[in-house]
Symmetry: C2
Subunit: 311 residues, 2 copies
């Protein structure tokens, strides 16, 4: 079994971009070419662990991905997220590769999903990118979505003003024009592309804050409990897109709205199927919500991408 | 992360016996001290993969175990079973150890479960150990159960006479007195401790074959579909024991009998709880069926055992 270290992975990610591979994963998934069992979850006293696995029917590997969040780690000077990915042969079951990514491949494939969403569904002109949250995912999303949209104007809100100020300073150094705001109303009023990246379990944004014509990329909620968007936003959206219709029945913003019968399943479209239709102009008044809960096919694609670049 | 090779694992297993550790795992499990989510399953064209995970509430590690069976591997000169185990910190989520066991730790912890069952529930005098199946699990079970019971008389039945003959010869060399029989009736007539180890999905043994006073250890069936024992055997058993009452609702011999309403949940007892009561004399006419579908707590215990002996 090949063992790949975090620093080798970072080197690959600095040189090459897995975006097109992950994008093709979403398309294959929506064509029914992937087998993905339900996510396995371990809830511990100090953290939670998600185990995702799956394969593409025509593929040579199955993936097992472990991603954990231990929210007290920062006190110990450790990052809260951790994890690894493994590839096994779909022909013989043999372990082929361990990627000791410590969670960064999950961070990257998630940020890439945001970039893919922006590539297909961003407003024609993005006035500013609003980002809710100041962690690693907020940073990666801003970088990737900015690259796709060309917008360097960032509005940021964080629960901790200190963390938000750190975010502002470091992103400023990297060439972004970052405005830190205190109230989410102002964030939504100034941005027509909003990315939510917190582990909140109470809605942070509500319909009355949102401008018509906004794209909302909802990243934070990936369990039945977590929630960043008031259900009203989904009820009033022009379109609702998820990475997996099946997974959205039990996880993420959409699952809540479905459980409350605020929206119907027929209103929910799948990312891979929408991508397959190709890019089309976005209407100025169209509000789109894209709810991402994370798919094993993203893990499979980014793991294979790194393995192929290292071999 | 510490990486432990298969040969290091084999060295540890030759020197030390994890039986008492696995036994305490069953007891802790039945005391409600373990958190074990449902088994995750990948069904591929050429094989199947089970992913088990879990932890003990007072423990320092959570385990993720991958075990696969690819039944066409023998044509390629590869063993059909494969897999690995990983230990992560329950405090921080950090990966602590990868055990590249290629499936042997699953083989051993399963055989150890058989030995634990024999230790507590074998007839006072074992006339012969009957074993159904001739693969690696059949061999390991015979060795371990023979050690516990002191019985070296083995009756073996296999679907392939060639494989059964190979089993007979190699076990004979290791000092066992092995009789190969053609019909399962004779196996059950000559043995009062029977171990079933095949991936059969049709019953191989039925009630009319079984002598009163027999202990049956059912290893092979660990999914809703697999079956080695006719339901009549469960209906007529003096007692039925499973490794996990929860898992037996959906997996193994007992799940079939429960689904068919042939037995009731109140008739099913849990191994760890029975062990905790201590050994007691077995009545000569008492027929016991123990149905094992495999628990993550066994994986956790054997993985920690190996790690502690290597450190």
């Amino acid at each position: 079994m090949k063992i790949v270290t975090k620093s080798e992975i970072l080197t690959v990610l600095r040189q090459f971009d897995p975006l097109l591979d992950v994008e093709s994963g979403f398309v294959d998934y929506s064509k029914g070419l992937a087998c993905i069992p339900p996510v396995s979850e371990l809830v511990l006293e100090k953290g939670e662990v998600h185990i995702k696995c799956g394969y593409l029917k025509a593929g040579v590997h199955y993936v097992i991905k472990v991603a954990s969040g231990f929210y007290g780690n920062s006190v110990l000077g450790l990052p809260s997220s951790n994890g690894l990915m493994m590839l096994f042969s779909t022909e013989t079951g043999e372990a082929k590769c361990l990627l000791q990514d410590e969670g960064i491949l999950t961070d990257h494939r998630t940020a890439i999903a945001g970039a893919i969403v922006a590539k297909y569904f961003a407003p024609a002109v993005v006035s500013a990118i609003g980002v809710v949250g100041t962690g690693i995912q907020a940073r990666l999303q801003v970088k990737r979505v900015s690259q796709v949209t060309g917008c360097k104007k960032i509005i940021v809100w964080g629960r901790s003003t200190e963390a938000a100020e750190r975010f502002r300073r470091s992103m400023q150094v990297e060439g972004y024009n970052v405005e830190l705001i205190e109230h989410l109303e102002s964030l939504a009023g100034k941005s027509n592309l909003i990315i939510t990246t917190t582990p909140s379990s109470r809605p942070l944004l509500s319909q009355n804050m949102i401008q018509a014509g906004t794209l909302i990329i909802a990243i934070g909620s990936d369990t039945p409990e977590k929630q960043e968007l008031d259900t009203d936003i989904l009820v009033n959206a022009t379109r609702i897109i998820v990475d997996s219709k099946k997974q959205s029945l039990t996880r993420g913003e959409v699952s809540r709205a479905l459980r409350a019968s605020a929206i119907g399943e027929h209103q929910v479209f799948e990312l891979g199927a929408e991508i397959a239709k190709g890019r089309r102009p976005t209407m100025a008044t169209e509000t789109t919500v894209v709810d991402l809960t994370g798919l094993a096919v993203q893990d499979l694609k980014i793991a294979e991408f790194v393995l192929n670049r290292i071999n």
